[in-house]
């Protein structure tokens, strides 16, 4: 059976329902009216009966008092003859036994035949009126007046018949009117249906024609307005859909919408590219069909039930920032693409389980590599044994590594925000730093050695490399200072330097250092017109001590003698050991020649003093000294040493433990040992 054949005509349904409802309403109204009428007539009857009893009561009481029962009987007859009472009884008040009785005798035609059912509708018959006939407290009889129910029913039935006729007329009239109205009202409805069908087939231009029936016209207007709104809505929807599609296409992030059955509903080009698939492969396919080898962030395989889409579909909760790698089948292991995935559930209205999941994909392969590199750099930064300071462009420290704290004693909190100059030692002058910064600004880096100061006030040397970090616009954003504490190296260098210039036994300057200092002294004396004296000394009898007590004792003697000599010399004087038992004293800034002789005599005296060599051993040596003067005896260091050596030779020949000047050694014994050089005005003031 077709669906249309199951439908009922609205017109007939309305007519039947309206007729039924009017009929029911009429029936109810009729029942209410009959009930009301019954009640009213019953009340009226009761009232009437009471009035009648009121009228006859004095007569009845009087007649009963005087025992005139004939009059009482006549009164009863008169009461029932009026017609409203069916019977009247006079009863004994104490026993209720009837004494007198009168009954109405209705003639045929006095009342109308009433249907039995109407009796049920009319309800209970009116109650009899009972009145005690008494005077002065003495009850003579009871009067019981029974209203005529038949007459009451007849009256009611008459009025009810009229009401039924009236209701039937109204019902018929209403049905006729309704039929006519529906016949007229259905045509616009048919037009409305026709237009709805046209719109349903896509013709949104169709309009409901106007009609004179206001309500139908209002429906038509509302429908036309609704269609207009729907057109506007559809246009907005298309635009919105286009915008969303464009936005989806333009998104750098990949977006895939997966239905609850795992079918890919829609996707954007970015998603396709990220998954490395050809166009048209995704839509309508199962997501798992396009699953590559998927791995967790730690490289272990990703189970299907831990895939974000699966998790969101089954839990209804979003998953954010889930990182997974995809590896196309057969591809090399190092070609893994890393994706960050967010999955958001979509719920139907009122639904508890998502009907789809929106999966957004970001290719974070490069970012992950950068992160890895950064992580590595950070590890290098923190684990480096070299002290690293990173400042911003304004040289304000933004980061220091652990080695910084270890080397300088300053914590990160102490350092962050400060200028690196806070660890300056003060050993370098401003020009040094200016040169350094000029180099950095010019070349982008600087390397060099800088002395800095740690938290405990100790200064230490560092080998520093400072680099300027520039952004893509070549603007310096940071400076990185990497430094190595070179204190140990410096100490080693100093040691080497010391070993090169000092005698290992006595720690006195050796020949090389003496040569350098002598050169400088000559140069300085030449500029400043000073004298320089060189005392070339050789210990007497040292060989015997060495032979007698051994080399160690000889070495001790040399150290003791050296110490005695140093104790006599000025701080600015130089005592050098040239080797063996040969020493040279370099004296600068000499103003009084006599002072030299005093010194020489003191040195001879000191050398001659006994030397305790331990274990109760004592030794005594002497010293022979050759003296040469600049500029008198030589113009250069070599000449001075040579002339001093010559003078020493002469002194040794003269018997040791003495001295000779070079001039004396040249045989000019009468000549003054020291020929004074004219002093400049400047000399006199120094």
């Amino acid at each position: 059976m077709s669906q249309a054949s199951n439908r009922w005509s609205l017109r007939y349904v309305l007519i039947v329902l309206s007729g039924l409802s009017v009929f029911l309403v009429t029936l109810v109204a009729l029942s209410v009216m009959v009930s009301h009428e019954t009640r009213e007539i019953s009340q009226m009857t009761e009232q009437h009966t009471n009035q009648m009893v009121d009228l006859v009561e004095p007569l009845l009481v009087g007649s009963l008092v005087v025992g005139d029962l004939a009059t009482v009987q006549q009164s009863l007859r008169n009461m029932v003859s009026e017609g409203s009472l069916s019977s009247v009884i006079i009863a004994d008040p104490s026993t209720n036994a009837p004494i007198l009785f009168a009954r109405s005798r209705l003639k045929t035609g006095d009342t109308q035949t009433v249907p039995t059912w109407f009796g049920f509708l009319a309800g209970e018959p009116p109650k009899p009126v009972k009145r005690r006939l008494a005077a002065g407290g003495v009850a003579y009889a009871d009067l019981i007046a029974n209203p005529s129910y038949q007459r009451l029913l007849s009256t009611l039935w008459n009025s009810t018949q009229n009401m039924i006729l009236l209701a039937a007329g109204m019902l018929l009239t209403q049905l006729a009117l309704l039929t006519w109205i529906l016949a007229r009202g259905m045509k616009p409805l048919s037009n409305l249906v026709l237009v709805m069908r046209q719109i349903g087939e896509g013709d949104l231009g169709a309009k409901v024609p106007n009609t004179r029936l206001n309500e139908i016209a209002q429906v038509g207007d509302a429908f036309n307005h609704m269609v207009g709104n729907v057109k506007e809505l559809m246009r907005s929807l298309r635009e919105s859909e286009e915008q969303h599609r464009s936005a989806l296409t333009a998104l750098i992030e990949g977006v895939i919408i997966v239905r609850s059955d795992g079918i890919i509903q829609t996707y954007n080009p970015a998603a396709r590219c990220m998954l490395g698939l050809e166009s048209g492969q995704l839509a309508g396919a199962l997501l798992r069909d396009h699953c590559h080898s998927e791995v967790r962030e730690d490289g272990t395989p990703l189970p299907v039930d831990q895939h974000p889409v699966w998790v969101t579909l089954h839990t209804g909760k979003p998953v954010t920032n889930f990182v997974m790698g995809i590896l196309p089948t057969g591809a090399a292991a190092n070609s893994t693409r890393w994706l960050a995935i967010n999955s958001q559930p979509l719920f139907s209205e009122g639904g508890a389980q998502p009907h789809a999941v929106v999966m957004s994909i970001s290719d974070i392969t490069e970012r992950k590599e950068i992160d890895d590199r950064l992580r590595l750099a950070a590890a290098v930064f923190h684990n480096s044994h070299e002290r690293i300071i990173i400042t911003d462009a304004s040289s304000r420290i933004v980061a220091v590594n652990d080695a910084f704290t270890e080397i300088t004693g300053f914590s990160q909190t102490d350092a962050i925000g400060k200028n690196p100059s806070f660890i300056r030692s003060g050993r370098h002058e401003t020009a040094f730093y200016k040169t350094m910064w000029d180099c950095i600004h010019q070349n982008g880096y600087w390397r060099g050695e800088i002395w800095n100061r740690n938290k405990f006030g100790e200064i230490f040397p560092e080998w520093i490399s400072i680099s300027a970090v520039k952004n893509e616009r070549e603007v310096v954003t940071h400076y990185i200072s990497i430094a190595t504490n070179i204190s140990v190296i410096k100490q080693a260098e100093d040691r080497l330097r010391h070993l090169a210039h000092y005698d290992a036994l006595t720690d006195l300057p050796n020949r090389l250092l003496l040569q350098l200092r002598l050169d400088h002294a000559v140069e300085r004396a030449r500029r400043q017109h000073h004298r320089v004296a060189v005392l070339y000394m050789d210990l007497d009898r040292f060989k015997q001590v060495n032979d007698k007590y051994g080399h160690e004792a000889g070495d001790d003697l040399l150290r003791i003698i050296s110490s005695r000599f140093l104790g006599r010399l000025r701080e600015e004087d130089t005592l050098a050991r040239l080797g063996g038992d040969e020493f040279v004293v370099l004296l600068e800034g000499i103003n009084q020649v006599d002072n030299i002789y005093n010194l020489v005599n003191d040195l001879i005296r000191l050398a001659g003093e006994s030397v305790a060599l331990g274990d109760g051993r004592e030794a005594s040596v002497g010293v022979t000294i050759g003296v040469s003067l600049f500029p008198d005896d030589g113009k250069t260091a070599e000449e001075l040493l040579s002339t001093a050596d010559t003078a020493l030779y002469k002194a040794k020949n003269a018997g040791r433990n003495t001295y000779r000047t070079f001039r004396e050694s040249q045989g000019n014994a009468d000549a003054p040992a020291i020929i004074p050089v004219p002093m400049t005005e400047k000399d006199r003031h120094t």
């Binding site: 004095p58 008092v65 407290g137």
Partner: protein, 273 residues
Amino acid sequence: MNFIQAIVLSFYLVALNWIGYAAATDDKVYSFGVLNQQSAQLTAERWNPILRHVSQVSGIRLLLRMAPTVQETDAAMGRGEYDFMFTNHIFQSAYERVGYRVLARAGGELNYGVIIVTPESPAQTLTDLQGQPVAFPSADAFMSYAATQVGLMKAGVAVQAVFAGNQEGAVAQLRARRVVAASLHARLLLDYAQRENFQFRELYATPRYPELAVIAHPRVASRVADKVSAALIGMNTGIEGAEILARSNFPGFEKASNAEYVSVRSVYKAIGK
């Protein structure tokens, strides 16, 4: 005690009670007739409370008895059907042979009848009423008919008697100018005049006569009659009796004897009753 014993004991107690009650009271019901001065219902309203009180006080059971009309009441009285009665018709010659005994009379002062005219009436004496229509309540009335008739007869005046049915009817006849004078009970006239602000002029007043008497039939024992008489007279002083009299608007009862009604008998004789 079982059930049967309980029932026997109960009957025994009831019987003892009944015997005691019967010994204390006279179980006979005595009829008490009342002259038809008002409608039977009003009469019953007025007299039933009085008779119930007297019965309770005296132990003599009294029952109100009336006939539909005055004539029938008088006839029954003449036949001796009432044990007690409240009337003055007994003093008519026709009923003297029955031998009723006067026990008491209605209380209050002795009363009288009057003949009145309107204030503007030209009649100044009874003789001015000669041949004129005069209203009377009823031919059975004593004060307002029998007594005033004696006065008219003594004055030698014959009037046209118009019977109005009751006192109010007679006054209404006078006020409607359908009669030139009206013969009325003096006390009832004064009540009416005060109630209705009625102005009148008195032409004649009869001598004073006692009100109706309570009489007993000769067959009623003196003991019973005395008890009833004592109870009636005692109502004036008893609280309950006084209340009943007040509600019935009854002036009460006073002791009386046949001798007090000689004047009444003479009036009846004078008019041939």
